[in-house]
């Protein structure tokens, strides 16, 4: 008999006041009993609507059925057949727009906590020694540029098929945005490292400190015996608004702020990376990255942290859970406001942000109502730090050093439905193709690319 509770089985979280001052994980996860209870809410629908919402087609009802039976190891094995990084996805996917958004239990009440259950399975297996399946080598080499979620997925899927895969990572550690972008309190780095170690145990090679486009070109990789190359080089250069004052001391891009904290561990005293000790912080933007930056600033000891967003609460692109957590932690949402200028003191340090109030007009090309400034509503927000989190534009490094690789007007790599670029044998996915998007979309692209690369190499013979 299904559990007919209209709400999800509650999950333990750190108290908002406590967690707003530490970097430990916010959500503590289900116990086995809670997981079984939540799994029993699944109706095991024949038409599996949840699966249609998943970019990597996790066999959701099947794994949940195993959880309900208490067979967690089997549940995990089912997830792993299609998802290389379940511990990551269970934590950072926007489930409300994907699997859970399609769940029939969500029509009346809350959907099944699919993300929580996926995370539970992955965490449950984390400290259990799982025999690594090492595929029989098939004698073919593939190079993967970048070490983020799309690349890790490509590497995992191809390694499973017996390919000899090498990841070329620019930073000193692989993981991409999972390491430098998403904070510890949302995605512990030990978990990411564990998923990466799984790949190396499967035989994937990782070359760190290798900036492709500088130290080696794509053509040179092809000349080194790689039969195909996957480019998952990520989103790239942070955007700024082009308003006065963005060169002042105390203005960060969210990428820089988060990289200092997450990758370079500026929040830990024994690491040498510096970061500003801010009192009042304005984060401009409304996406997940903005939430991460705001909540990080709070954890570093800020008194007031504001989200400055030009549309309303309804249009915030961030995951619902992140907005909810941010509000609980005391982040102040100044929605329907847009910065027009960052103000500095005589030493060139930020001491305010001039904003203008906005109202919503007719829907624009994105389908969201267009924000319109209200004349004369300008005011100064008292802040000493401004973090710009308004997206990125693609990194020029690879496209400018790879003849035959075409990009669109935005500078994103052009690919067909198989993630194949305009250059033979070169595939691409993730933010390098889509512009800034989500981890799971990058993984979905990686999955498709891996299948296409396998086809391509098999047919070449």
């Amino acid at each position: 008999m299904a559990n007919m509770s209209l709400t999800k089985t509650p999950i333990a979280e750190q108290e908002p006041k406590v967690r707003a001052r530490n970097f430990k994980e916010v959500t503590l996860g289900y116990t086995p009993e809670q997981a079984i209870e939540e799994a029993q809410r699944c109706l095991n629908c024949k038409h599996k609507p949840c699966m249609t919402g998943c970019p990597v087609s996790v066999r959701i009802p099947e794994f949940i059925a195993k959880v309900a039976e208490g067979k967690f190891e089997e549940a995990y094995a089912i997830i792993k057949t299609t998802n290389a990084l379940p511990a990551v996805c269970g934590r950072v996917c926007p489930q409300e727009h994907q699997c859970e958004g399609k769940c029939v239990r969500g029509i009346k009440g809350e959907p099944v906590g699919i993300g929580r259950l996926e995370r539970f399975c992955a965490d449950y297996m984390m400290d259990k020694a799982v025999a690594v399946e090492k595929a029989e080598p098939n004698g073919h080499k593939v190079a993967v540029v970048g070490g983020g979620p799309s690349s890790l997925t490509v590497a995992g899927d191809l390694a499973k098929l017996g390919y000899d895969v090498t990841i070329y990572e620019a930073f000193h550690t692989a993981g991409g945005v999972l390491m430098y972008g998403i904070p510890e309190f949302r995605l512990p780095k030990a978990i990411v490292q564990h998923e990466i170690d799984n790949l190396t145990n499967m035989g994937v090679h990782i070359m760190t400190n290798m900036v492709i486009g500088r130290v080696l070109s794509i053509d040179e990789l092809m000349g080194m015996g790689y039969e195909a190359v996957f480019v998952g080089s990520g989103a790239g250069l942070p955007r700024f608004m082009g308003i006065e004052g963005e060169g002042l001391v105390g203005v960060y891009s969210a990428n820089e702020y988060l990289t200092r904290i997450n990758l370079m561990k500026a929040y830990k005293d024994d690491y040498e990376t510096p970061i500003m000790k801010s009192k009042n912080v304005a984060v401009v933007g409304g996406g997940n990255v903005a939430m991460d930056a705001a909540r990080s600033a709070m954890r570093l000891g800020a008194e007031h942290v504001y989200i400055v967003y030009r549309r309303s609460m309804d249009e915030l692109p961030a995951r619902k859970e992140e907005v909810h957590h941010a509000q609980e932690e005391g982040i102040e949402f100044l929605v329907l406001n847009n910065p027009v200028k960052i103000v500095g003191d005589e030493n060139g340090h930020v001491n305010g942000m001039e904003c203008i109030k906005m109202e919503l007009g007719e829907p624009d090309a994105s389908g969201r109502r267009r924000p319109i400034p209200i004349e004369g509503s300008n005011f100064i927000l008292d802040v000493d730090t401004a973090i710009m989190s308004i997206g990125t534009s693609p990194n020029p490094l690879i496209r400018s050093t790879t003849p035959g690789l075409e990009t669109n007007d935005h500078g994103c790599l052009i690919v067909d439905e198989n993630e194949s670029t305009t250059k033979e044998g070169v595939y691409a996915g993730g933010d390098a193709v889509t512009g800034a998007a989500t981890v799971i979309l990058a993984m979905g692209a990686g999955k498709k690319a891996a299948a296409a690369i396998d086809e391509y190499i098999k047919n070449k013979k």
């Binding site: 000193h172 400190n209 900036v211 942070p238 060169g247 990194n395």
Partner: protein
């Protein structure tokens, strides 16, 4: 891990290291840089590549000890390893075709970076005036090397203890006044020095390249920390530079941004800015 094959103390505060890094050595060009991280808990610090040996697979860096990250690097000896070295980063310096005479101006440890530029130009057959400025005689570095890499070496000291008594800008002005026709000036050193070299060359409309050293983390165009304002637009030193047309650079903003962590440095010497060259 990257092995230090040679270590030389050039003066009390300046150290030369030759590092085993075959991938970087194969591609490095004058004007490019690396980012190093001494150990797991260290900062990522950019340093310009002073020289490279493609056959040996080594690169040379020359740096001044100014704080924790460079102190830690300087503590390492021949045979020790640096945890991470990534490069070559940035765009190699591009010279205009047909240039006949160039003044390469270096200030202090910046001479370590001016030197390979001079060497490259000198090997191309360009007449090179290398103007190298130091505070005093006891910190002069690379004199022999610079002599070989230039047509005219002008060593200047602020206190007059060696060579020309005065700043590099005074010497440059004298040369111009004396009739030297420079097709280009390349200035590498402290930000104020580069700013004032540009002031000297502006009235004569001499193209002046500067090599910028902003705070940086990834060096690949991701973090945006190294942004500088050039001709009123945001440019990223790591992917668009580090060389820029000096007449268009907002040096005052660069100086301010480079001082972002000065207070923290003073309060806690272990925490430093990244932009040390």
């Amino acid at each position: 891990m990257y092995k230090i094959v040679t270590r030389k103390q050039l003066n009390d505060a300046v150290v030369l290291m030759e590092i085993d890094a075959p991938y970087i050595a194969a591609k490095a060009e004058a004007g490019q840089f690396i980012i190093y991280r001494v150990d797991e808990k260290g900062e990522r610090v950019p340093l310009t590549i002073a020289d490279y040996d493609r056959e040996k697979g080594t690169i040379t860096i020359i740096f001044q000890v100014v704080g924790a990250s460079t102190t830690e690097l300087a503590r390492l000896n021949e045979g020790d390893y640096i945890h991470d070295v990534v490069g070559p980063l940035g765009v190699a310096t591009e010279y205009d075709e047909g240039i006949k005479r160039v003044a390469v101006v270096g200030g202090g440890v910046g001479c370590a970076i001016a030197y390979p530029q001079a060497k490259k130009l000198h090997n191309m057959g360009v007449e090179v005036d290398l103007i190298a400025g130091f505070r005093s005689k006891d910190i002069v570095i690379l004199e022999d090397e610079m002599g070989k890499a230039s047509s005219h070496l002008h060593i200047c000291t602020d206190d007059g203890s060696y060579g020309y008594h005065g700043f590099v800008t005074n010497k440059l002005q004298e040369l111009i006044d004396g009739g030297a026709k420079f097709d280009e000036v390349i200035a590498i050193g402290p930000v104020p020095m580069m700013k004032f070299v540009c002031k000297v060359t502006k009235p004569y409309d001499i193209k002046t390249l500067v090599s910028l050293n902003p705070i940086m983390i990834d060096g690949t165009g991701m973090c945006g920390g190294c942004r500088v304002t050039v001709d009123g637009k945001i440019k990223y030193a790591c992917v668009d530079g580090p060389d820029f047309d000096g007449q268009k650079v907002d040096f005052d903003e660069l100086m301010r941004r480079n001082s972002t962590y000065k207070e923290q440095e003073k309060a806690h010497l272990c925490r430093l800015t990244g932009g040390v060259r």
